[in-house]
Assembly symmetry: C2
Homo-oligomer: 139 residues x 2
DNA sequence: ATGCAACTTCAAGTCGACTTGAGGTCAAGG
DNA sequence: CCTTGACCTCAAGTCGACTTGAAGTTGCAT
């Protein structure tokens, strides 16, 4: 596959593929002249990277999860930690989602007067919800 | 309250408070000489901002949620949308958390050989999970 | 009255993850 | 053979959310 096809099949832009290569996250199977050629494995690799990104790993962290030979070298403790962190995030977001839902439906003229909303706000300010451990998605 | 006390009580750094002011997200109640003074309302305001941030709104979006008079001006449809988006995110993250948990416990020498892991990967690459709608938290 | 820690402004820097632009090369179709 | 469009490299730019640094001012305790 050439870079355009990988881009097409993975949804990852060509510029990003070059960038990932520069960072050591992926490698082209070879070159045809100047041009990169990729084997089918690249797609799985990219899926793995995408997965890691969504889970909240940085590219650098993801890079460290591949042994120099290219096979995943996965640190189970690290994964368990991340699962735990993810779980906390999920809980926080769940609380917020419920708060938003309520606010969207709530009849109070001013949300600051709504007890449900105020409870959410209190939890937010006492750190049960926010702020560290940031956002949720740019829709 | 002076800026240092607001910082202490809210957990938001003084530099951030000045930055938020510059962005129009907050305002000092007044000045004592050069120095900003804040009323107690600021803490609620900051909680609201923190909440919005965690929910995935940008600072600009959050700014638009306050009427010029400073009272929250909340667009219910917007909130409902965000709740929906948040819910999608939560689902994605839940799937990933489960995948990570499994991977952390899974006995397979190579995760790529584990059927559970592969299923996760497939969902990731078919877009059921990733990649658009980014990360989860910098722990 | 004086010293100084804590405040002020404004410009620039940082970080992560890419994207964009300029200028160059080259494989493949006509 | 020639064109051309897809590819290449490398440097710089972007975006969001802040932080940092330099240089200046000042409220307040002694």
């Amino acid at each position: 596959m050439d870079i355009a096809e990988v881009a097409r099949r993975s949804g990852v832009r060509a510029s990003t593929l070059r960038f990932y290569e520069e960072k050591g996250l992926i490698a082209a199977a070879g070159r045809r002249g100047l041009r990169r050629t990729y084997g089918p494995d690249i797609l799985e690799r990219l899926a793995l990277i995408s997965l890691g990104r969504t889970a909240g790993f940085t590219l650098d962290e993801i890079g460290q999860m591949f042994a120099p030979d290219g096979k995943p070298r996965i640190d189970r403790a690290r994964l368990a930690d991340k699962a735990k962190a993810l779980d906390r995030t999920i809980r926080r977001l769940g609380a917020i989602r419920d708060g938003l839902r309520h606010a969207a439906a709530c009849p109070a003229k001013n949300h600051l007067e709504c007890p449900t909303f105020r409870r959410l706000l209190d939890r937010a300010s006492t750190g049960a919800i926010g702020p560290r451990g940031k956002p949720a998605s740019r829709t």
